[in-house]
Each structure stands twice: as structure tokens, then as C-alpha cells.
Symmetry: D2
Subunit: 350 residues, 4 copies
């Protein structure tokens, strides 16, 4: 059993982490923190835990955190870059769900997040936590952990996860601008009560936001190796959870000769070993409802031969495969456990 802490447990990703860790056979949920909700019972914030979990939130600096083997950090950016170094020093493995260690380039981070990075030395060694597109990094982190080292995992963001799972097997056949139009449920906007997250504002509405300016842009470009080529437009739609990314790849002259079957073969091969990514049967498109509450990603592809483009879509649960689930998947891999430990839930079939 590993002693596990969750820093920033009161937000949606943190709460989902609690839910997964509580059912994890190798994890003992030791401490959950939230500076804003310190002192409150988990069940008072999330009645779903009533009768199931009697933990209370403590502050991030609760000494119990230092007794953990592993901490998940589900905090806003800038929190992890300040505390992760000391956790690592004390031998605590850190799985960070924030953006602090995702970008390899300090300059890019500072340009997009408008803050100085206080532990840039870790950027080069952090393991990028998107196992399907970066299996070799996960393997290296697992080897380090097995050798007794504390490891830092920088989990991919929600949009980057879905967008790269849709595009990765096809991107090498593309040229020029890559267009990713994605749609997220409202949990993506966080648990803060704002005019934007008010039920009556989000309900019966869809809209684009962060057009040409969303911070996940450089992260997607980095994963796919398409720096300067991405037009990423996120949209908000009236659902609590779910994220769909629709990516249009302009095929190179060479690739325009490939058939849909050719592309399907590439995708099948790319995800053959992944327990979580499923290429749907031909002609079928992913529905977010089929993956909500789960760590699965459904992928569909189609070919527009006239325009010479491949259209690839991927549906995930933004809070699970896009955050808490993927973090536990990464932790499982680092610890040498089966990737799907505590993550085999199937979506509610309605």
C-alpha cells in the first residue's frame, strides 16, 4: 500500500482523484488538502462521499503530506512549481495535474502563463504524463522509481490529451495549418461560481472562448511537434463532463493517395497496446457520453478526399482521462502496477 496525498482536493479533478484513490487497492488515501476549504469535511462539499469517506480537508502545508509516498497535485498553475521540488527532495513522487511542468521550454511557459517559473531546472527531467503518446517517458520514469528515485510526472491537459489522441497517428501525413475545434463540458471551467459557470448562463448555450489565445495551444503543438501550425478553438457546451476534439489535418501530396483503410490501419496499430484508447468501427463517431466517468478515449476518423483532409475526432471525460484518471494511470505505470488499476469503470450506458 502506498500512502497517497492529494494537494488541491476540493476542485473537480481533486474530487475525482479522491473517488478513484478510494477504490484503488494499492493506495491508502492519507491526506487531502484545500487551502480554501480547510477544516471542512469532504462530504460537506461533495455529499456523494456522505457515509463513504469521513476525511476533512487540511491546508496544503499539513505535515501529513510529508508522510506520503506519492502526492497528486490538482492545484492552479504556480503552486506545483513552488512545492514540487521540496516533495521530490524528500523522496515523494509527484504527479502534477497542472501546467507547471508540461512545457519543455521555460520561455514558452512564461510567455503563455505570464509568470516567472521558479523551478525551471525540473522542466527537462519531468516525465510528460500522456502515456499513449509518450510511452518511453513513462517507461523511464518507472525505471527511475524502481531504482528508488522520486519521480515528477507532468500530466497532459484535457484538450491536449483529446487533441493529440485524435491527431497523433495522422499528423506525420499532414502539412500546413492544423485546425482543432474542441468542445468541453462545464467542469472544464472549474468549480468557482462565476457569471460564466452559472447554470442559466451555461445552459442551452454553446460558445467559443479563448479564440487564438488558449494556453493549451503550445502544449498541443509540443506533443504533436507542430509548432506554429495550430489553430485551436475551444468551445463550451451544456454538459457537466465530456470533451470532444475535432482535428482537421491537411494531407501532404503523398498522403492524399492513402485510403481511409490505410489510415485506419495506422490508428489501430498506434493504439494496439493501449487499454484505454479505442478506434471505433468505420463510420462511427465518438460520443462523449460513452466515455464520461471513465478513463477511456474513443477515436473516429474520416477522409474528405476532395479537400484532401483527414478529420479525426476523440472523446474523453475531461476530468478523468483529461485529468484525474490519466494522473492515476501515470501513477500506476510509474509504480509498476497494471495501467488500469482502479480505472476499469465502464460508462453509464444511457
Amino acid at each position: 500500500m502506498y500512502k497517497v496525498g492529494i494537494i488541491g482536493a476540493a476542485g473537480y479533478a481533486g474530487a475525482e482523484l479522491m473517488r478513484i484513490v478510494l477504490r484503488h487497492p494499492e493506495f491508502d488515501l492519507h491526506v487531502v488538502t484545500s487551502n480554501s476549504d480547510a477544516g471542512n469535511a469532504v462530504a460537506s462539499l461533495y455529499p456523494a462521499f456522505q457515509g463513504v469517506c469521513d476525511l476533512c480537508f487540511s491546508r496544503h502545508d499539513d505535515p501529513a503530506v510529508l508522510e506520503c509516498d506519492l502526492v497528486f497535485m490538482a492545484t492552479p498553475h504556480t503552486v506545483a512549481m513552488k512545492s514540487a521540488p521540496s516533495y521530490l527532495e524528500k523522496g515523494i513522487t509527484v504527479v502534477d495535474l497542472s501546467a507547471d511542468y508540461r512545457l519543455r521550454s521555460q520561455e514558452t511557459y512564461e510567455a503563455w502563463y505570464k509568470v516567472e517559473h521558479t523551478s525551471p531546472e525540473l522542466l527537462a527531467t519531468a516525465c510528460f504524463g500522456q502515456p499513449e503518446t509518450h510511452p518511453e517517458e513513462m517507461a523511464r520514469a518507472a525505471a527511475d522509481f524502481a531504482a528508488g528515485k522520486a519521480v515528477l510526472v507532468a500530466c497532459a491537459g484535457c484538450y491536449p490529451t483529446a487533441t493529440s489522441l485524435a491527431a497523433a497517428p495522422g499528423v506525420s501525413f499532414s502539412q500546413g495549418v492544423v485546425v482543432a475545434d474542441a468542445i468541453s463540458g462545464v467542469t472544464g471551467a472549474g468549480r468557482s461560481a462565476t457569471a460564466r459557470t452559472h447554470y442559466c448562463s451555461a445552459n442551452e448555450n454553446f460558445e467559443a472562448y479563448g479564440v487564438a489565445s488558449h494556453r493549451h495551444t503550445p502544449e498541443i503543438e509540443q506533443i504533436l511537434g507542430i509548432e506554429g501550425r495550430l489553430v485551436f478553438t475551444p468551445h463550451l457546451a451544456p454538459a457537466s463532463r465530456g470533451l470532444l476534439s475535432t482535428v482537421t489535418l491537411q494531407l501532404t501530396d503523398e498522403a492524399r493517395g492513402m485510403s481511409l483503410a490505410d489510415f485506419r490501419r495506422r490508428y489501430s496499430e498506434a493504439y494496439a497496446d493501449s487499454p484505454f484508447v479505442t478506434l471505433l468501427p468505420e463510420g462511427q463517431q465518438p460520443k462523449t457520453s460513452s466515455v464520461v466517468g471513465t478513463n477511456f478515449a474513443h477515436v473516429g476518423i474520416a477522409l474528405n478526399e476532395t479537400a484532401g483532409c483527414l478529420i479525426a475526432t476523440c472523446a474523453i471525460d475531461n476530468i478523468v482521462k483529461g485529468a484525474a484518471g490519466q494522473a492515476v494511470q501515470c501513477a500506476n505505470l510509474v509504480l509498476g502496477l497494471p495501467a488500469n488499476t482502479a480505472l476499469s469503470t465502464v460508462a453509464n450506458p444511457s
Copy 2:
């Protein structure tokens, strides 16, 4: 491992049964049937099962059904009353989710369901499948099963489950009319595509239906022992799942002297041994979202001293605690397994 069949697996309760049985450590999902979808893959109907379950639906008369130790019947009324007798004869335990064996009185059944009952001899011996209010019947069924007998369980309906969990510990303090106004999500109306279940008809709408005529009326009256006293009005609200029953009990003169604390004590005691029913802290009311996807029931009570009434509310997932989950809970109890085997899922905390 028990060989398990699901008769009528294509509806919402059937699909949820598949989901629960697939994760059940003692159950082997042997056969799933649907006369209307026979031949189709489960995953083609419910993409959530893509890559997880490669079963196809067969017809109800698939001989594989007879190889089972246990069958769940999630069929419309009149199906179970025709086939359950032969399953039982062959030694197959039957957990029926339909109304066929719920009412003790053949006459009442025939009056409300407008059909002749073809196996009324089983009405007296069927175990009523609402474990919290009928623990002794569950115990008897478990003893019978342990003694080598095939057992018939008639699971309670969704509205009866929530309404009786809300009212049971208080009803003996009441007199006169009992008013139960309940609200259900749209899965309650079934998987058939009708004008009523069209998204644009159900969305942004709530309405009463079956006023003074809903078939769950005699079932609720039977459970609570309040024949002729119930006014039950179900409502439809725009959510996929969830069911809330609000029950107003008019207190007897004697009971009007009792305090809220007195009633809370009665409720706490009544559910002290139940792993699934939680009395919420004082002043808190159940939210369906806190139990959706789970087998939990949340209960809240309040007192209107001026009018001399106790108001009790209960929230459940209509498809889980109101159908598939309760059926598995009953099966677990009959088989002598822990009640919460495969049923410990906590609700999505958002």
C-alpha cells in the same frame, strides 16, 4: 463463480445490469437477451461497452439461458410471469425487476395491470426485493437458496423504493392521506423513442403524469401498509437519471408531540444496518446527483409543526437502487455474498 443471464438486457435497466455484472467478482455474464435486438452486438447499441464487452444479444429462448445459475429479468410486465415458473423448475434462481410478482394480491395486480396473471401461485412465495424494508424476506430467500432451492425475488419498483425508504420509519406515526410527489429522470420512461422521450420534448420541461392512476400506487401502499391512503403523483424532469420522492405524512395527535430529534433517532435506527441508506445531517436535503450511478439512497427529514406533518425525502438512481443495483443487492443477499459486492461505486462528485 455463478453463471448469470440477463433477460431483456437491451433496456436501460438491462444495460446497467450488464455493467454491474461485468465487474462482479462472483458473476460470469453468460448470456444477454433481447428479442428486438437479437443478433446485435451490445457495443453497437451502447458504445460504452466498445472494447470492453463483445457479447451479442440473443433471443429470450436462447438455450444458454438454461445453463445459468441465476437470471435477472428486466423485461416488461407479463414476460416474467410466463417464463419464471419454468426457470425455477429447472433450478434457476430468478431475480425479476418487473412488476409481475411484486403485488401479493392477484386481484390488485389484474386490476392495475389489466391482464390475467398466469402464475399467481408464485405470488405468495416470491421474496419481495426491497432489502431495507423486508429484511426478513431476504433472509428467508437466502436460507432457501442455501438449502439448495431456486428462489424467486420480485424487486421493488423505482418509485416504491424511494418512497418507502423516505416514509417507512415514519409511517406508523401518521394517519389519513399520505402524499407522495416524486420526480424521475427520463430513463424512467424507458429506451423507446417516443414523442414524450424526444430530447426537445423532455428538455427544459417538467410535468406531472399518471396523476391518480400510476401503477406504482398499490405497490407503495402494500410496502407501507397504507392501503387506500396514498396520493401518488410522479413527475418527469430533464435529467437522464435520478429519482426523488417527497412524502408528506400527517402526524397522529400523539406523534405531534415528537421533536425532529425524535424522528431523526427513529430514522437512524431504522437504517443503522443498511450499507446503502444514509440519513443526511440535519437541515440537509438529498440531491439526486449525489447518488446517480450508485446504489445509495440519501434520506432527509423535516417537521412542519404548524400543520403537524413530517416531510421526508429520498433520492436514488432510478436505474441502480431503483432497478439494476437493487436487483444485484438482492442477488448478493440470496447468494450469501456481502450486500455491496460490485455495488460500492461512489457518485461522480460534480
Copy 3:
């Protein structure tokens, strides 16, 4: 043309008032106030007004208010009781949507709202703004206005409107406890962004609230003349607008001999002259979606002969017939205009 001001125009009822007043052929929207949004353009808060209305909110004490013939007050309780007296003194007719002048009894107001009433002398003379149940008060107010007097209208609340329209024609046949279980859309919780109004909290959820303690209780009792007999339980459901009240009336021994047709006749007669209240055909129940965005109220009734109860339901738009629309209806009547001026919109038929 009457110069019209809206005090508290930034909330949902205020915004709906703007929308109705802008299309009213006899109203000139002169000033809209909001202390919290003073200085902001109406269209910046509600983009629906972009290109349609270029007014900005000013503060409540904007002198332009005093240039109005008529002001609507859509402010929280305690605001109107402080400023209405001075408006009336200056000859400005006041249509108040808040609770300040609804209750005849100062004592009851102070007990339920926990504040001292600062202009109790107006309680006796305020016209109660629920035209269908209080036509004689509206007629008196119209006569006063025609005679040159400024008039104070205290519009009924949303739950009281729907509940009394459902129950009024039947209540004289009832005895004992009256149970009203009502369901409201989330606009009923106001425009403030709170944990409760967060999309992800309200979505896919229904719950009771204010059980045995909601402030609309004494108002409903006053309208129906059933002091001390009401059990009122409001519920929140996931829709932006709409309110449904389901009222169970226990019939007197005498009334138990009446048929459904008898009751339908009473209801038809009661609403024969009302342009806004429709008794639906027998067997049909009101859907909130059929009245959302409109000033209409749909009513349905059914009889439970075994329990001896009449069940009456009424659907309205909580922001229109339950607030802004009814306020304009009252204003129309006071001013001697057709009741449905600017109020004949039919609901979106989907």
C-alpha cells in the same frame, strides 16, 4: 406613452421586464437601475440586447427615476419598503415585484423575513398583484389611478402564483392539510453565482429545499385563506425557467360526492374571463415548456376517489407569469390597457 423605470433591472426579473417594456406600445423605457452594475451597458450583461437596446444601468438614486410615471421594482426585499413611499408621494405608480407589501400582516412579514417593516402603513392599501385571484383589488387600483392617484401594486411571488392558480377554484371544497409540492427552474435562485447555482451543481440534479421553512408559505396561505394548513415544499430542477406546482386537496365529505366533471366546470368558470389561464383538456397535464417565455398559466386537475383528494397542477414561467409578465399585466390593468398588451407571446413550440 408612459415613462417607465425599472429599479433593480440587472436581475432575471428585471431583464425580462426590460424585454417586455421595450416591445410595449405604450411604454417608454426611461431608466434602468442596478446598484451593482451601475455604469455598465445592458448589452454587456445580457448580450441578447446587443444592437437592440443601448441603455446603461444607473444607480437606484438616479434622478431620472423621479421623471417616470411608473416604476417596476425588481429588488430584493427591504428595498421597496424604503423607497416606494417617496415614489408614491411624488405621484409615481409603483409595481413592486418583491415581498415587501404582499403580506397583509406586518407581524407575519416580520416573523418570516426577520426584518422590521419600515412602511407598514401601506400594507393595508397596497393592491395585491395576482389579477386572477384578486380581480376586485385590481379594479379598485385602476379606479384610483383613473382618479389621478398613484397606486402601489404588490405582485404575487412565483410559487404563490402557480400554487394559487392551481388550487383557488378547488380550495373551498377542501379541509385539513393542503400539500403543495412545487418545482422551479434555476432562474428562481437568482442571478448570483453561488455553489448552488453553478451549472455542475444544478445540472442532472433535483432536490427539495426550504422544506417547512420557505417564505412563500404565508403568502400562499393568505391568498387561499388556509392559514396554518399548508405544507409547502419547493424543489429545484435542471431547467433555466419554468415552475410547476402540484397541489393535493383533501376533499370535505360533501365534496367527495363531486365528479371530475363537476370540478372541471368550477375551474372553467373561474378562469373563463382570464386571457392567461387555460384549463387543459381532460387527462392532459401542464408542461412547463408550453408556457416558458410567456405570461400563460396552464392548469390540469385529476381526482383520486379512493383517497378523496383533488390533485391540481399549474405550470408557469417563473420569471414571466411568476414575476415580470404578471407585473406588466398588473400595470396594464391599472392603466386601463388591455391586460395582454405586450404579453401575447406564445411559447417556443419545441
Copy 4:
């Protein structure tokens, strides 16, 4: 007063047409037809019309249709191409909401709709009913009507309307592939009750559909003059109404020198005379909720300078500006009435 008929009045566009025509000061709603619902009262299908409209549906061949001055056809494709010629012959002006006369090329129509066109001679003369992008055609039709001729208007589809309003002022600055990712509410899938339109299938879900194969593709290409360049991917989102199109235009080398202000000027000028299209303030993106229930279109633009792309979004109500409202707008223009007659409704501000 013009006598108006609606052919195919039982679908969502037909019902919205009824709603608009009923409030139109120059229109007398003479006949409404539906072959499937012939004989039923409009109010029995759409209770919103209860007490407001007592018409019944008749069959399409009702002789009353021939007494009309103007008919709206809200029928599936292939109906109008068979009956419009005879209406025109009898001097009845036809405003067709279906696809039958939208495409100039018979060959393109037959290739995409897989049927033979039976009145292709009208393709050349039909007026294309998208007034903002084809004002000259509307003017010509109005002149013809003024000269006593019956006129045929082929209204643009919902996706083509939003997509072309987003892209039209910018498309001449673009080259190569144009990507349009659009999202529609569920009314877009029609009133038929299917597995896809079931509440529990559409709710809490978004998905792409018709990828690389949607029939609106050639229509959008025709409006914008970008034959062979379009990748159009429609999506379904859980809302009853609303349609958002997000268009990514790859700028020509020349146009890459233009600033956002330059583009905003072009857009402002393009829509300066349109009463229905509003370019939102800089930095603001259209919300479908701001236009639902109205004939307005909100447009927003942004520039991705790194990738050299203009991103333009447009929000409309798919049933109003995308169907019934635009049809009435076209009729108003043909008849020489103000464009916004009966179309000045502002969206529900919540």
C-alpha cells in the same frame, strides 16, 4: 392581409412558422398541413398553442392551400420540387425551406441528395433566400412580385446560413482549405423520435456526425464560392435550439498583413445595413443563448497571426434565422414589407 399557408406545419420549422405568422400583422394564417398529423389540432401536438390557435392540420392536398397568396414549404426534400411548380403556375408565391431549389446545379443536387430533380428548370430562376449574402436576388424577387409575378424563394439551410454569415466578409482574403466546425441543438435532427433524438441519448453528450458527407457542404461552397475547398464537420450538442459555426480561414500572403481592426472594418461594413446581423465588440464571442428564439445572428472574429488564420464564429437559432425566421424575412422582403416585421423578438435574457 396576405392569405398564408404552411405546408409541413407539424415539424419544428413549421411550428415556428405558425408562431411567427400568427403574430404577423400582414399575414392571415389560412391553412396548415401535415400528412402525418392531418386531422389533429395544432394544440394537441404543441400545447403551447392551447387557447391561442384552434387550427387543425389538413393534408398537403387541402384545396384551401390554393386559396393562399403565399405558401411556406417546410417539408422534407423532394416534396417542394413536385408541388412548387403548380403553386407558382396558380400565382402563389412559394417560400421553400427545403433543399430542393438551393443548389444551382442539378447535377450537384442529384449527386448529394441521391434523387432525380423533377423541376430542374426552376433552379436557375429561384431566388436564393439568404438576404444578407444575396441582397440582389432578394431585390429582383421583390421587383418580380411587385410586377405581379409569383416568386420562388429557396431559403438557405441552417448550417449554410451561420457558416456563410461568419465567413462571407473574410473569404475573399483566404486560400486553400476552409474548415467549418459547427454545433447544432437537437431540433436540427427533426421531430422524429429516434434512438438518436431520445433524451437520454442526446443529453450530456456531444458528437460529430455526417463527417465529410453532410449535404450542406455543397450549399456552403456555393454561397461562399469555395467549391472543393470546404471541410465541414457538424456536431450535435445537448440543447434544444441554437447553432454555432466556427470557421477557420487560411489567409493569403497579402491578407496576412491585415490587422484585426482591418477585418473588423470589413465585417462592420458588410453587415451595416442588416437589421439582423450584429458584429460583437472586440474580444467577445457569440453565445447561442443570446439569439435563441430570435432572427438575430451574432458574429465574432479573431486572428491567429502565428498560423496566419482568421477565425470567425456565428451564432443563430437554427429554427428561426436558420429556417422559419429567415423564411419570413425573405417573404417580408419579397412583399415589400419591413424586413423585421414579426421578427423583432429579443432573446430570453437568461
